[in-house]
């Protein structure tokens, strides 16, 4: 995809947050796997790019991390949303939807407003 890096980072962050919101506390591998699935395998995520993004979200205070046990009894670091993170997700989602609506109007075949 010919996206600019910062836009990509921004969308990646949103996808991560949405994933955690939907799935609850999840480890890095799980998040990556889930994003791939959700995007219908259209996105080929280099899993390594996830970790700097997770760090940034943690530094900004939207998620927190904690070591815990996975289903297979593997030690893993789990990430969960903070309250600020939850608010951020809702706001970002709303903004995205607004933007897609506006862009859609431009891209739709011309309709005379009546």
């Amino acid at each position: 995809m010919a996206e600019k890096p910062d836009v990509w980072q921004g969308t990646l962050a949103l996808m991560v947050l949405k994933t955690i919101e939907a799935m609850g506390p999840l480890h890095g591998y799980g998040i990556a796997r889930r994003i791939e699935q959700t995007s219908g395998d259209l996105l080929s995520v280099n899993y390594g790019t996830l970790y700097p993004a997770l760090l940034k979200l943690e530094q900004e205070g939207y998620i927190t991390s904690e070591w815990g046990m996975s289903d297979n009894n593997r030690k893993a670091k789990f990430y969960s949303l903070t309250r600020a993170g939850r608010k951020h997700v809702h706001r970002e989602t709303h903004d995205w939807q607004q933007m897609t609506n506006i862009v859609a109007r431009f891209l739709a075949p011309g309709e005379k407003s009546s």
């Binding site: 790019t49 900004e60 893993a76």
Partner: protein, 917 residues
């Protein structure tokens, strides 16, 4: 807000690096494990599972790098890394680090010390004064007449004010607050065994409030106390003086003897306040309490000019407005005084009308005009200190170059591995700045310790110098440290940026590139040249000091003391004072170690009375100093009688009036004729009386330093006046009747040794227990010699410092070059060269630098020393012996510095050196 929070987290991330690294590794490891488990569950083999998981994760190293970059602030990380690396390098090579720090500490320390001196002398505003930049000096400018020996036509003199003039100003000027003050006057304090001499200033009651000074306790004078019609004698003591007296908190309302009266203490000034100048003041008294000698009326007479007037423009008034108002007020005053219209003209002390003018100059700016000799020398010394810093930096740059060369392989490898040149240069800068910071810190310490020594050498003992640490000093230290650090790193950094990888990687330590040698050679030659300039300067100043010491005053100062009582303003009758001095003379004559005593009216080096004299037989006149002395005078001062005889006890009242003249007077009045037997008369007093000349003595020099800037009509460095000496017993005119001014004492052996005994013998002999001051002439002369001694000692110190630094520099570079050429030397010796040849080779290499440096240094010195001509005493700036001595010293030092490396080179074993890589 979020970004700030993120930034702080990143800052924190700088600090717990290893823990985070471990955590990330653990997380990535766990990620891989989870993925592998999934893959295995999906049916892959363990190896395949692992392989796919790793591929999918992407480059682990690049992930880690991105993570790290995100986690902390990369620039700070880099900096910390560089610092840690530099510290490790210093630990491995402590000699290098120590050499650099020491060199820089000396160079920076010298500059910091000089700056604190110059700062105290020139820039520091006195403490406790409110808004000192507003204070102005009300200056009366007067153009001197043609034959005034104390001025020149093109430079107007600044005159004092008289008291009625000040009063007139203070009553009529609306735009300024005004106050009167005197400079520091010496006066006696106390009675009996605790009597001493102190330094006081007489000020108007507006003085303290004009300056805005808050007294430590007590109060300052009221207008009633400063009333010329009869004020109440009160005094404000200086803080240090109050402490000397015992720091009695109850001192208020106590009475103390000052001069001839008792004064009530009403206040103590704050610590560090010494009026407007830097000399220590012990007390302030109302100006109307100024001690008056008989016949003087300082407070009412318009002919006594003795006050300074200072002012502060009131709110809303500018200095220009105030200046014009004062000019108008003063013109009005002059008119009523002399009835002269038009220009302000008044009587001068020499009896004729001169042109006057009034102007306001800021008190504290004009300090640069009034630069004392000591201040001027200090400024020069600052420049010298800067040169020393340059030499130090050159040394350090060379040290860095050498070290760079030793590390060139390491540098090449790092470049190969991907480090950018910028990074390497940054690392060099970090190293150099670390070292120079250590040097700067050490310099502050060194300067703190040296400061008392510098103070003792540079300043008159009574000068008050404020505290050491102030923000200006610290800012300057940082500035010098930065200069030192950056300049020392420049050349090596440039070297790094130009290094060629392939040649450096070769383990060949014997390559020599032209640019590198050129840099090194230039540095070394510059060092030598600068050092030579400093050494020549030191030589000139030492010579100057020697001349000043040896200068023939016309009398022997090292065995002479002066005992005096400050009785000029007392109400004691002349007969009483005469008797007192006779008692002192008697007692002193019987004190051990005293050879002779004599009384005199005018004391050498301490001013005198001048009047017009001439031969009644002709109309020629000369302006001569008049002294009345006892018959032992010339013997007591060790003055040779050149012609005729000295005074005898038979030259008394009633016998033939006689006089002894000095060579200048004899030449002025009688040219080449024999003056013995001629007549001398005072033109303005007792005109007809003929005093027969019975002897001729050499000229006495009145002042060393003053002679420098004196009237150009008088050639030579000192001021020769014509002098005439009369016997004290013979009465020349009633205008000259009066008690003697002092007792001259000649000792066996140095005067300073006998000072204590004589002082103890004479204490308490003055009427009423007044203070008797006993001082060797060397002490009286000292303020005049001090600037020359100052120049000599400081230049010598800096010259020695520069020599030390340069010799270390030469040694270092040579040692390095020898090591570099070890293989070559080994080959030469294997081919049959003798140790002496090798010795000569190395020494020649070193001396090449020295020789070139000497040549350049001489050229530089020839052009630069001209600038200090005014600071030298009877020494030409091109004084050949000084130059030759300095060159000899430098060449010797350079030779010595070459010897050790040369000797090491000569001992090289050809076999080992050839294997040596």
């Amino acid at each position: 807000m979020r970004r700030a929070r993120a930034w702080f987290r990143r800052l924190a991330g700088v600090f717990n690096k290893s823990r985070r690294d471990r955590e990330l590794s653990a997380e990535l490891e766990s990620h891989l494990q989870l993925h592998i488990d999934d893959n295995i569950r999906a049916g892959m083999s363990p190896q395949e599972a692992r392989r796919r998981a790793i591929i999918k994760l992407g480059g682990i190293e690049s992930t880690k790098e991105n993570y790290r970059d995100r986690r902390s602030i990369p620039i700070i990380e880099t900096l910390l890394q560089d610092i840690r690396f530099a510290l490790r390098m210093f630990r491995k090579n402590p000699g290098f680090a120590l050499a650099v720090v020491l060199t820089l500490a000396l160079g920076i320390g010298a500059n910091v010390t000089m700056f604190s001196v110059v700062d105290a002398l020139l820039f520091r505003m006195p403490d406790h004064i409110r808004a000192p930049e507003q204070i102005v000096n009300v200056e009366l400018m007067v153009k001197p007449e043609a034959h005034d020996p104390f001025g020149s036509e093109d430079r107007p003199n600044v005159a004092f004010h008289n008291f009625p003039g000040y009063l007139n100003l203070s009553e009529n000027v609306r735009t300024m607050d005004l106050a009167a003050e005197t400079s520091a006057w010496p006066i006696d304090f106390g009675r009996g065994a605790d009597a001493r001499e102190i330094s006081v200033s007489y000020v108007s009651h507006t003085y303290f409030s004009l300056l805005g000074v808050q007294l430590a306790f007590g109060r300052s004078f009221t207008a009633e106390e400063d009333n010329p019609a009869g004020g109440i004698p009160v005094v404000v003591l200086g803080y240090d003086f109050w402490r000397d007296l015992g720091a009695d908190a109850q001192i208020l309302n106590h009475a103390v003897w000052i001069g001839e009266r008792q004064f009530t203490v009403i206040g103590v000034a704050p610590k560090g306040f010494n009026g407007l100048d830097s000399a220590r003041l012990d007390a302030w008294m109302p100006v109307s309490d100024v001690p008056v000698a008989a016949g003087q009326d300082l407070l009412h007479s318009k002919d006594n000019w003795w006050l300074d007037t200072i002012g502060r423009p009131k709110k809303g008034a500018t200095r220009a407005q105030a200046e014009s108002e004062i000019a108008v007020v003063y013109a009005g005053y002059a008119k009523t005084d002399n009835g002269v219209r038009g220009n302000i003209t008044m009587q001068s002390s020499l009896g004729s009308k001169v042109d006057w003018n009034v102007r306001l100059t800021p008190y504290f700016d004009s300090r640069t005009d009034k630069l004392s000799q000591g201040a001027r020398v200090s400024l020069w010394l600052s420049a010298v200190a800067f040169i020393v810093l340059l030499i130090a930096c050159a040394n350090v740059a060379n040290l860095f170059l050498v070290r760079m060369f030793q590390r060139k392989q390491e540098m090449a490898i790092r470049l190969q591995l991907g480090a950018s040149r910028g990074r390497l240069i940054g690392q060099t800068l970090v190293e150099s700045l670390l070292l120079s910071s250590a040097g700067g810190g050490a310099a502050l310490l060194v300067s703190y310790w040296i400061r008392p020594i510098a103070r003792a050498v540079l300043f008159a003992p009574e000068t008050y110098v404020g505290s050491f640490m102030n923000w200006r000093l610290i800012a300057l230290t940082i500035f010098f440290t930065a200069i030192a650090g950056i300049s020392s790193a420049l050349i090596p950094a440039w070297r790094v940026s130009r290094s060629s990888l392939t040649s450096d990687l070769k383990s060949d330590r014997q390559g020599r590139s032209n640019s590198r040698s050129a840099a090194r050679a230039t540095l070394l030659v510059t060092q030598v040249a600068l050092t030579l300039v400093l050494s020549i300067g030191a030589g000139l100043f030492i010579e100057s000091l020697r001349h000043a010491h040896m200068f023939d005053q016309g009398f022997q100062t090292d065995r002479a003391l002066l005992a005096s009582m400050n009785l000029g303003t007392s109400s004691l009758k002349t007969a009483v004072i005469n008797a007192a001095y006779n008692t002192l003379a008697e007692r002193a004559a019987h004190t051990p170690r005293v050879e002779r005593v004599a009384l005199a009216h005018a004391i050498p080096l301490m001013g005198g009375i001048y009047t017009s004299v001439g031969d009644p037989a002709s109309s020629d006149s000369a302006f001569a100093g008049i002294d009345q002395v006892s018959s032992e005078y010339f013997a007591a001062l060790g003055i040779k009688i050149l012609q005729g005889r000295s005074f005898l006890p038979s030259d008394r009242a009633g016998t033939l009036p006689v006089v002894i003249v000095n060579q200048t007077l004899a030449r002025d009045l009688w040219h080449d004729e024999n003056p013995i037997g001629k007549c001398l008369a005072l033109r303005n007093f007792n005109k007809k009386e003929c005093h027969t000349v019975v002897g001729v003595v050499p000229d006495q020099i009145k002042s060393l330093a003053a002679g420098h800037t004196m009237s150009r009509k008088i050639a030579g460095p000192a001021f020769n006046t014509a002098d005439a000496y009369f016997p004290m017993e013979q009465h020349i005119s009633k205008d000259f009747d009066g008690p003697p001014d002092g007792l001259l004492i000649r000792t066996f052996g140095p005067a300073s040794l006998a000072q204590h005994d004589i002082s103890a013998a004479l204490t308490g002999l003055a009427p009423g227990g007044r203070y008797v001051s006993v001082r060797p002439f060397s002490e009286i002369m000292d303020p005049q010699i001090r600037p020359f001694r100052l120049g000599a000692s400081m230049f010598t110190f800096f010259g020695a410092l520069a020599l030390l630094l340069s010799s270390v520099g030469i040694y270092g570079v040579l040692a390095f070059l020898v090591r570099q050429r070890t293989a070559e030397i080994g080959i030469r010796m294997a081919l049959g060269a003798l140790p002496q040849n090798v010795l000569k080779l190395v020494i020649w290499q070193g001396m090449k630098f020295a020789a070139l440096g000497v040549v350049i240094g001489i050229a530089a010195a020839l052009s630069l020393t001209r600038l200090v001509r005014s600071l030298l005493f009877e020494v030409r700036p091109t004084d050949v012996p000084s130059y030759m001595t300095a060159c000899a010293v430098l060449i010797t030092v350079a030779l010595l510095a070459c010897l050790l490396p040369a000797w090491r080179a000569a001992r090289v074993d050809p076999a080992t050196s050839l294997r040596h890589e």
